[in-house]
Structure formats: structure tokens, C-alpha cells
């Protein structure tokens, strides 16, 4: 089963980040790299990335066959996706154990979402 571990950036996580010393921030970043390596070594890692600031996001839509790339919608968003780990492991409990190792889980919380697969029950 694949699981997506989502890390959100919000007011609470920004407050924690703000209060961190430079050393603490270095450790935080290194812990992410270590987790990456640990997941790879365990044979569960599918993909993991951190996302650029949402101000760099563009919104793509197609209307009447025409592709429109825009900066909006400009609604005030208090929370955005900051990064993710996509892992492949046997049970939800395994996924929770990995999620608990994400450094952000010690500050705020991370979200674990099962990924849909193509299996099917023939009833």
C-alpha cells in the first residue's frame, strides 16, 4: 500500500520555525535528509520533495481549448502544502510509524493519506 505523508505550513508551524535557532534549523533539515535515507534504505521510499513557496505557484486552467496560466486565485490562504513523503509499506501502522519520524510531527502534526490503488474485489 502506498501512503502520502503531507506536511503543511501554517501559522503554528511558522511560529515554531520562527523561534528556532540557526543550529536547530540545521538539525531540522538534516533530520529530514536522514529520514529520506532511512526510508530509502528500508525499501519503502517512492518519492519525497519539499515545495517552493506558494507565491511561486501558478494556476493553470483550460477554457474553450485555451490554456490560461495565472497567479490567482488570491484568496488569503493560511495553510499550504510544504512537502511530502510518498512511501510504500504493508500496513497503516507502518505508515504511522514513518510519519512519526518526520521532524514536523514533533512540532505540529503531519497527515497520512492512503493512496488509491487499482485492486478490486470481484463480487
Amino acid at each position: 500500500m502506498k501512503y502520502l505523508i503531507l506536511i503543511q505550513s501554517n501559522e503554528r508551524s511558522l511560529a515554531v520555525w520562527d523561534a528556532m535557532s540557526d543550529d536547530e534549523r540545521t538539525t531540522f533539515g538534516r533530520d529530514h535528509l536522514t529520514l529520506n535515507e532511512e526510508m530509502a534504505e528500508a525499501g519503502v521510499l517512492v518519492a519525497a520533495e519539499g515545495l517552493a513557496d506558494p507565491s511561486l505557484a501558478r494556476f493553470v486552467s483550460v477554457r474553450g481549448g485555451e490554456t490560461i496560466v495565472s497567479d490567482g486565485p488570491f484568496a488569503e490562504v493560511k495553510e499550504h502544502l510544504a512537502g511530502f513523503y510518498l512511501i510504500d509499506c504493508p500496513t497503516p501502522e507502518d505508515a504511522f510509524a514513518w510519519a512519526a519520524k518526520v521532524p514536523d510531527a514533533a512540532n505540529t502534526e503531519v497527515e497520512v493519506r492512503p493512496v488509491l490503488d487499482m485492486s478490486g474485489w470481484e463480487f
Partner: protein, 396 residues
């Protein structure tokens, strides 16, 4: 799918024999396996153009043996190598495949590692092919294999004395590989379909080696009978077709005939087991020319046997489905609410799916629709969600 080129066929069949011969000669599973993998890749590159050598196994053993020596670069390994007699000709033995299969399914390994290692070492598939089939990155599969090999360090390459005790684990791994492929439904999943074919090939080999093992026979029959329905179980767009709605003329009649012959002989000649019973259930479905002709009484009886031999939440649910076919949806619904008290089933989306189905049959469209939607929200399968949503929208 499942059709191999002549070169692939030779390579896949030779892979475990070559590895068996090399590892028996040098005793070092880890580097021997890497070396054989490279020899297979070299052959896959060269043979289609240059032709298959007269003795393909000897060619592969020779190339793998040399490659293995090149792989062992450190001094200690060189010393060990120099102590060996020159250019040995490793021999092929009849039980190498089985020894290898049992080793790859070692209980100390995780299921994911067992699957990856079996596909590579016994099946002769490359890491990239396995990764495509399992829908994970190649590096992830590579890591699972190297972890497995690390765990197997020091394990001896001989058939274990407790072979009987190890066989259930082997059958489980083969079934897991089959299901990885079987649950694939469409387009992008073609590589996964190959896994079912590979599982059938390996189980067929095992059955030929251990014809008296009724559960290996049962497993092979179950795979054949299940796989026979593949052409009918999904629509071209990937949507699931339930058993009752499948076009039975699309079923593979040769596979069905073979499956029925195998399971009939196993039930007659060997001790009964869960795979045989599941195969027998699949055979009863296969024997019905139309869904309405299904012998549900017999299926119910078989699920009751299975419930004794190997109880589990899915067996419980399937037994209730069969019961509802025999005694009507209201009896099924009553049983279902009792079964749902089991914590393993309480929140299971398939309980909702079955309840929805039975409510629909009982004529309660409103409640059925609500249950279909609950099931659709809870499932982890995309085709299943689409199917359940479709059923719900039909009842609007």
C-alpha cells in the same frame, strides 16, 4: 500478456538453475545472485542478435562465474578465489529451483523483500521490470533485494529439513505475487499483469516438483481459475465488472478446464486445505454458463468448510454473500449485522458494499444508496470506488 519471447523463455527457465549452480559452487548467495543477474542481462542483450548458444545454461554459468570474481574486488575475496580450483564447471541439479524458492521465501524476510527476491532470483526478472510491475522506483526494489540478501547471509543453500513447515510461506509468497498482478485492472497496469503470469509459471514449476502437495495443486488451480476470468472482469476503461455481470464467453476455457482437472485430482488424492477449497469455489463459478445457473448451495457449503479451515473477515463476508443467494437478502443482512460486531470487520468498506447490495436486492433503495456511498468513501481501490459510486447513482 504473459507471452515471452523465445530468448526470454530460455532465460527465465535457466535463471534459477544457473543461480543454483553458481551459489552451490561458491557458497556466496549475495554476489552470486548479482553475477547471475548481470549474466542474464548480457544474454538478453546478445542472444537476440547473435543467437542462443548451444548450451545456454553453460554459457550463463560461465559468464556469471567470471562476473562474480570481478565483483569480489577486495583482498580477502581474492585470496578465497585464488584458493579455488581454476575455472570450475558448476553443475545443475534438479532441486536447485526449489531450494532457491524456499530460500527466497525465508520467514526472516519481509513480504515485500520475499516478493522482490523471488521475482529476481527464481523468476529471472530484472530489477527494473520488477519495479515497473510493483509500481515503485527501481532503487526501492533494489534496496528490498539487497536488504533481503543481507539477512540471508550465512544461510546454507540446501533444502531445509523442515521443508514441509516452510511450504506454506512459499505458497503465500506466490499467491501474493499473483494478486499483485491480478488486482491490476487496465492500461498502465499491463506490467502488473505479467506478475500473474509469472506467479502461475513458478507455481506450475513447484507443482511439477511436488505433485503430491495438495495445497500447491490447489494454489495453481485457484490461480488458473481466477486468471481465466481476467478478460471479462474489467472493461476497456478499467471499470470493474462484477462476477454476475461478466460476459462468460470471454472466460479462458482452457485455463478453466486445466484448473478444474487439477483441483479435482487434489481434492480426491490429498488432504484438504484452504487453497483447494478456494479453487473449488472458483470452479463452481466457472461451471455456471450464466450467473443465474450458479450452484450457490455448493458455494455456501464450501465457504463453511473454508470458515473452519482458514477463518478470516473476507471468508465471513463471502459466506454471507453466498448465504444471501441461497436464503435471501434479509437472512444475509441479519448475518451481516452479527458479523460486523467483529472489530476486524466493523469499519470495513466491504461490509458496507455487501450491505448495500443486499439492501438493494431487498428493495430498500434509499438505504442501499447510502451504504454504497459509505463503501465508496472508505475503499482504497479506484475501480471499486467507481463501481460503488455507479451503483449509488443508479439508485438516485
Amino acid at each position: 500478456m504473459g507471452v515471452l519471447t523465445p530468448v526470454e523463455e530460455v532465460l527465465r527457465a535457466a535463471a534459477p538453475q544457473v543461480l543454483g549452480a553458481v551459489v552451490r559452487r561458491y557458497g556466496d548467495f549475495d554476489s552470486s545472485e548479482d553475477a547471475v543477474q548481470e549474466a542474464l542481462l548480457a544474454a538478453a542483450r546478445q542472444w537476440p542478435a547473435e543467437g542462443v548458444p548451444d548450451n545456454p545454461r553453460a554459457w550463463l554459468i560461465r559468464v556469471a562465474s567470471r562476473r562474480r570474481i570481478e565483483l569480489l574486488r577486495n583482498d580477502e575475496a581474492r585470496r578465497r578465489r585464488e584458493a579455488l580450483p581454476p575455472d570450475p564447471a558448476p553443475e545443475v541439479r534438479g532441486d536447485d529451483e526449489l531450494t532457491l524458492l524456499v530460500l527466497c521465501c525465508h520467514p526472516a524476510l519481509t513480504a515485500a523483500s520475499q516478493v522482490a527476491l523471488t521475482l529476481r532470483a527464481v523468476g529471472g526478472l530484472g530489477t527494473a521490470e520488477i519495479a515497473r510491475a510493483l509500481l515503485v522506483p527501481e532503487s526501492t526494489v533494489g534496496q528490498r533485494i539487497s536488504r533481503a540478501k543481507k539477512k540471508l547471509q550465512g544461510a546454507r543453500f540446501v533444502l531445509p529439513d523442515n521443508l514441509e513447515e516452510r511450504l506454506p510461506g512459499v505458497r503465500q509468497v506466490l499467491y501474493l505475487i499473483f494478486n499483485e498482478g491480478h488486482t491490476a485492472s487496465s492500461g498502465t497496469s499491463l506490467h502488473r499483469v505479467e506478475l500473474s503470469a509469472e506467479a502461475i509459471r513458478l507455481t506450475r514449476q513447484l507443482h511439477a516438483r511436488l505433485p503430491a502437495d495438495g495445497e500447491v495443486a490447489g494454489l495453481l488451480a485457484l490461480m488458473l481459475l481466477t486468471d481465466a476470468r481476467r478478460p471479462a472482469r474489467t472493461r476497456p476503461d478499467g471499470a470493474l465488472v462484477p462476477l454476475a455481470d461478466q460476459d462468460r464467453t470471454l472466460w479462458d476455457s482452457a485455463a478453466i478446464a486445466e484448473g478444474i482437472t487439477i483441483v479435482t485430482a487434489a481434492l480426491r488424492d490429498t488432504a484438504i486445505g484452504p487453497f483447494q477449497v478456494q479453487a473449488a469455489i472458483a470452479a463452481v463459478h466457472a461451471e455456471a454458463a450464466a450467473a443465474a445457473d450458479t450452484d450457490w448451495e455448493q458455494i455456501l457449503a464450501l465457504y463453511r468448510v473454508l470458515h473452519v479451515l482458514a477463518p478470516g473477515p473476507m471468508v465471513t463476508l463471502n459466506r454471507i454473500v453466498a448465504l444471501a443467494e441461497v436464503d435471501g437478502p434479509l437472512v444475509g443482512l441479519r448475518e451481516l449485522s452479527l458479523a460486523a460486531r467483529d472489530p476486524a470487520l466493523a469499519d470495513h468498506h466491504r461490509v458496507s458494499a455487501v450491505r448495500a447490495h443486499l439492501l438493494e436486492r431487498a428493495g430498500d433503495a434509499t438505504a442501499a444508496r447510502a451504504e454504497y456511498l459509505v463503501a465508496a468513501r472508505r475503499t482504497l481501490s479506484l475501480p471499486e470506488r467507481r463501481y460503488l459510486e455507479l451503483r449509488a447513482s443508479r439508485l438516485r
